[in-house]
Symmetry: C2
Subunit: 299 residues, 2 copies
């Protein structure tokens, strides 16, 4: 049980975060957020998604956002593309990396995207083919890996099977999402042990929500299992629709503070990150979801 | 690195929690809180402290609280007693267990209790003697174990020295307080490794604050180091989750949720605990500081 020598932070605030914020936000403010994040040392920012604005109104204008952000060398600006149509829209916006999204829970898949897990995976095949054709890397998300709002417990092997399919399909990295934040450290470790038998450990990312306050403990647990990629959201932007009023994504600032304390380099600058989070919280008129940011910015 | 087979939760909400709440609270409400907590399965509740009400107005009326609570067999109802005068007042209130409080940081000791660490320890000698005479157990707190607001880094050996002195003086358990919540998991583990060379590991308690969101990760880390006693505060009393500059005790509900998930028994009932926390938050007119409570009580 050795901690990783370096951790890569995948910033999902502009996409996974903002899509769950109730307050509408302008293209300009989204662009500003991405540009601010680009100045922090982060090398991966999920900027938006190409989905029907009917379903996810907060992601309308992703094309415009991609056209207006200042691109910095060395940073990946990614988009979520649930199907071929989304992928083609991303291509038109000159997106260089995309992500696809499956659930580990059958009920969640049915209720959330109205199809079975198998059907959702099938939809990704043309996306993967098109991505390969255009030389675009694809990241795979699996949701409900530590619990489902409808089914409760999800066996790790079930997660591993979905992760393996995405991997076999050509996803270069599999992000394991504790969508409802019900995971605890022991379960998180078991999950990694199991999934790592099907997907190489360095290709697994932890995408944990803090709804029950467990996210950092779970992240520390999976760091001990050799996970070296962490998804997080600046200022804890976003939240799970199933836990309204409670927090959603773990905040990047809190993760970074822990990694700094553990002496694990990330290349990310905490004060700049806090500033980026403070600014977007002002725009949204919301309290900063990062405890680190609150502690550092107290008057 | 094996997790403990059982964890004992030390509930500090009525004392350490309430003393840091700004809203005044009546004796009746304090009594109600302690009685509610007595119904949860907790076997240790820190009820109040016998200190000058000039310094800690929230703790005025501790005598009355002790006289009015419903005592349940098997539960320890403890009081903080900083000196012999406080101890004698506790005796008069028929308190059966007390706690004393020293800092691991010289500057913190000077600024907080206006004397050196050595002087503060000296003050405890007559308390320890009187306690022994009356057959009363004494618990020892050490503050600033993972950082000091004035000095920053505190060497683990400095903590170990203070812990050792309290132990040698006769304290049966030493509670290690991350008073400002700046600790991270690696530092927490190093601390335990060091202090455990001077005080038996099963006699160490972790008393962590969640100011930077690190408390649960730190607790998981010290559980891996064999710590089996955790101090926590129902509803995270003692720190407002939303107010800027909040410093707060880790919430008992969030700790219990993690322990339940880890399969470590505590004997404490989570729904009852959540109810106790909700009620005192209503009294105080504050948001519940426990993420678990917020997630479970969402509308």
């Amino acid at each position: 049980m050795k901690l990783p020598e370096r951790v890569r932070l995948v910033e999902v605030g502009p996409r996974d975060g903002l899509q769950n914020e109730k307050m509408p936000i302008s293209v300009e403010d989204k662009v500003r957020l991405v540009n601010d994040l680009s100045e922090t040392g982060l090398d991966y920012i999920e900027v938006g998604s190409f989905v029907s604005p009917r379903w996810v109104p907060q992601m309308a204008g992703s094309h415009e956002v991609f056209s207006k952000i200042q691109y910095r060398a060395g940073i990946t600006y990614a988009a979520l593309t649930p199907n071929l149509r989304g992928f083609e829209a991303a291509l038109e916006a000159d997106v260089k990396e995309v992500a696809v999204f499956a659930a580990a829970s059958e009920s969640f898949s049915q209720r959330n995207i109205n199809c079975s897990i198998a059907e959702s995976l099938k939809r990704f095949i043309p996306v993967m083919q098109a991505a390969e054709h255009h030389g675009i890397a694809v990241r795979g998300y699996v949701s409900c890996v530590l619990g489902c709002p409808y089914e409760g417990y999800i066996p790790p092997l079930q997660v591993a099977r979905v992760a393996r399919e995405l991997w076999d399909m050509g996803c270069y990295e599999i992000s394991l999402g504790d969508t409802i934040g019900t995971g605890t450290p022991g379960a998180a470790r078991c999950l990694i042990e199991c999934v790592a038998q099907h997907v190489p450990r360095p290709r697994l990312a932890a995408h944990f929500h803090d709804t029950y306050g467990q996210a950092l403990a779970n992240l520390y647990a999976v760091l001990l299992e050799g996970v070296c990629v962490i998804d997080s959201s600046v200022a804890g932007l976003g939240g799970c629709p199933y836990a309204s009023g409670a927090s959603g994504n773990v905040s990047t600032e809190d993760v970074l503070y822990m990694l700094n304390g553990l002496g694990i380099p990330t290349g990310v600058d905490l004060p700049r990150l806090i500033n980026a989070g403070q600014r977007i919280c002002q725009v949204l008129g919301r309290e900063n979801g990062s405890r680190v940011a609150r502690a550092f910015t107290k008057s």
